[in-house]
């Protein structure tokens, strides 16, 4: 008898378990893959500075308290703006939807908060919003952001997944050195809207403090 035989043969038994449990994944995820990966036509990949900010969002794990997924309810669209569409996430690696809203959704925070506001808020949330339980991220004002890894990431996704970055994105160190001034220029635009003198000085010296990349990323969430 089939079942009797199965129970007595650990190898085929293990195989049977694997078949039963992979069934759902195969049917659910695989067929839809190409379609779900399609970006909206208006969607642009993030700049290197914004990517560096995204990596800080991951490093300091803002996802622990913030979502980036506006659900199609009136109460949410009133609060956060238009509900989220699949195509908006097509360049997000990893996805950062989150699963807990200890703080508000951030998917469109770039529409209603400014560089200046973020600067004050990240340094001391309570000063901006009394009663806030968000931690202050003072260390972001002194730590230096890893923009080189962000560039490496852009090149990798361009080569591996055809993310539309321009022809100047190449695997070589020389290409990175050539691109670096552009990142600093982007950083300077943010720093100009900030008040912190040390941050301004660092950017003038060709360094990007974490807070600048973080704000660039938050501003890009629209």
């Amino acid at each position: 008898m089939f079942f009797h035989w199965l129970e007595k043969n650990p190898f085929y038994f293990a195989l049977m378990i694997s078949v039963v449990i992979s069934f759902a994944g195969l049917l659910e995820i695989v067929p839809n893959f190409a379609q779900a990966a399609r970006p909206l036509s208006t969607e642009k990949p993030k700049t290197v500075l914004e990517l560096a900010g995204k990596n800080l969002y991951v490093k300091d794990n803002c996802i622990a308290c913030h979502s980036q997924m506006i659900r199609p309810f009136k109460s949410e669209t009133d609060r956060y703006g238009k509900y989220s569409l699949s195509g908006e996430y097509a360049y997000d690696r990893p996805f950062l939807w989150g699963s807990k809203r200890t703080g508000p959704d951030l998917h469109r925070v770039g529409n209603y908060r400014t560089t200046d506001w973020h600067e004050n808020h990240m340094r001391d949330p309570k000063a901006m919003v009394p009663g806030s339980i968000m931690p202050a991220y003072k260390h972001m004002f002194t730590n230096v952001a890893d923009i080189e890894s962000a560039y490496a990431e852009a090149v990798t996704v361009k080569n591996a997944f055809f993310t539309p970055y321009g022809p100047e994105f190449k695997r070589t160190r020389a290409a990175w050195e050539a691109h670096r001034p552009k990142v600093i220029a982007d950083a300077k635009k943010i720093a100009d809207d900030m008040k912190d003198e040390d941050v301004k000085k660092a950017v003038a010296n060709g360094e990007v403090p974490e807070i600048v990349a973080m704000i660039a990323y938050l501003n890009s969430l629209k």
Binding site: M1, F3, H4, V20, F23, L27, Q35
Partner: protein, 73 residues
Amino acid sequence: MDIQNIQGYGMFFLTIFLTVILYWYILYLYRSEKKGERDFEKYGRIALDDNIDSPLVEDKIASERDNTKEQNK
């Protein structure tokens, strides 16, 4: 036929298929016990008599010996 349809049909028939197998399995479990072919509840003893010298419910070494005997026949 687009991908959604294929997924839908695939889902439907595979679920039916696995449900049939599951019910077949239930039938098998209870029928073979009723007919006296197998006793499943005796396996429950494995957890209770688990000293290294406790009696085995089904002896692997002995049954392999029997198998080779059969093949040599």
